[in-house]
């Protein structure tokens, strides 16, 4: 299946793209997409513990199962400040 991966902020910079299209095996989860990405861009792996994700413009869990045509966004920690 083919999915679109959206990246923001530091993740976007590491990958050098805000949007990627990738083929994943059927039955893949958001975590599989992340692992695929971390394999391709090793510097991304440092965000493993802090990343969150959204599937088709809704917050989702890394355990969420993906489907052909899905749009998954990986979100680094959001802006702090006080």
């Amino acid at each position: 299946m083919r999915i679109t991966i959206r990246l923001f902020a530091r993740l976007r910079e590491i990958a050098g793209a805000s949007e990627l299209s990738r083929d994943l095996p059927d039955g893949s989860t958001a975590r599989h997409a992340w692992d695929h990405l971390a394999g391709e861009f090793p510097a991304i792996a440092g965000y493993q513990a802090s990343v969150s994700c959204a599937v088709n413009e809704e917050y989702a869990r890394l355990t969420t199962r993906l489907h052909d045509g899905d749009d998954i966004a990986f979100l680094p920690p959001v802006s702090g400040g006080n």
């Binding site: 917050y59 920690p77 959001v78």
Partner: protein, 163 residues
């Protein structure tokens, strides 16, 4: 006023300058005796650095949904509350508004609390990132892992709102 800030939507992400008066006007109604307006402004220093400007990046459709979620959470606690949240993207200069929150309620206590709650929650769950350009460099400012279902974070935002 810029056309971007006046098109009547209560929850928006925009590259146009923000206008607090027009954001505030979106929540006004005859049954509300109080409107609070919080303006987050870019300041010239952070962590001992001289800040030159900030660049904001957002996942706009999800950010708007996060703002709607924040209003829903606020309404659970303060039933008559009505919010408007406008956030800037792109380069924002020192002294310019990066976020405007307007909260309207029949009475002032709820309006103050809800505006405070909204900014705390935005910092927790809105998919918005800021890159700080300071004298001598630039860096992403990374805060919390964005997780709307994290009840501990939500409770912490309520506690800060109700001090």
């Amino acid at each position: 006023m810029s056309p971007g800030a006046t098109d009547g939507l209560r929850f928006r992400v925009t590259a146009e300058p923000l206008d607090a008066a027009s954001t505030t006007a979106l929540v006004a109604s005859s049954e509300c005796g109080a409107i609070t307006c919080f303006i987050g402004v870019v300041r010239d220093h952070n962590a001992g650095r001289r800040v030159l400007w900030l660049d904001y990046e957002a996942y706009a459709p999800l950010a708007v949904k996060a703002f709607e979620t924040i209003e829903g959470e606020s309404a659970d606690r303060w039933p008559s509350i009505r919010l408007a949240i406008h956030h800037r993207t792109g380069r924002v200069e020192i002294g310019e508004a990066s976020v405007v929150i307007a909260a309207a309620s029949p009475h002032r206590a709820d309006a103050f609390a809800a505006a405070r709650y909204a900014i705390e929650r935005i910092k927790q769950i809105a998919p918005i990132w800021k890159r700080e350009h300071f004298e001598g460099g630039e860096t992403w400012i990374e805060g919390a892992t964005a997780d709307p279902l994290d009840e501990t974070a939500r409770r912490a935002a309520f506690e800060r709102a109700c001090v």
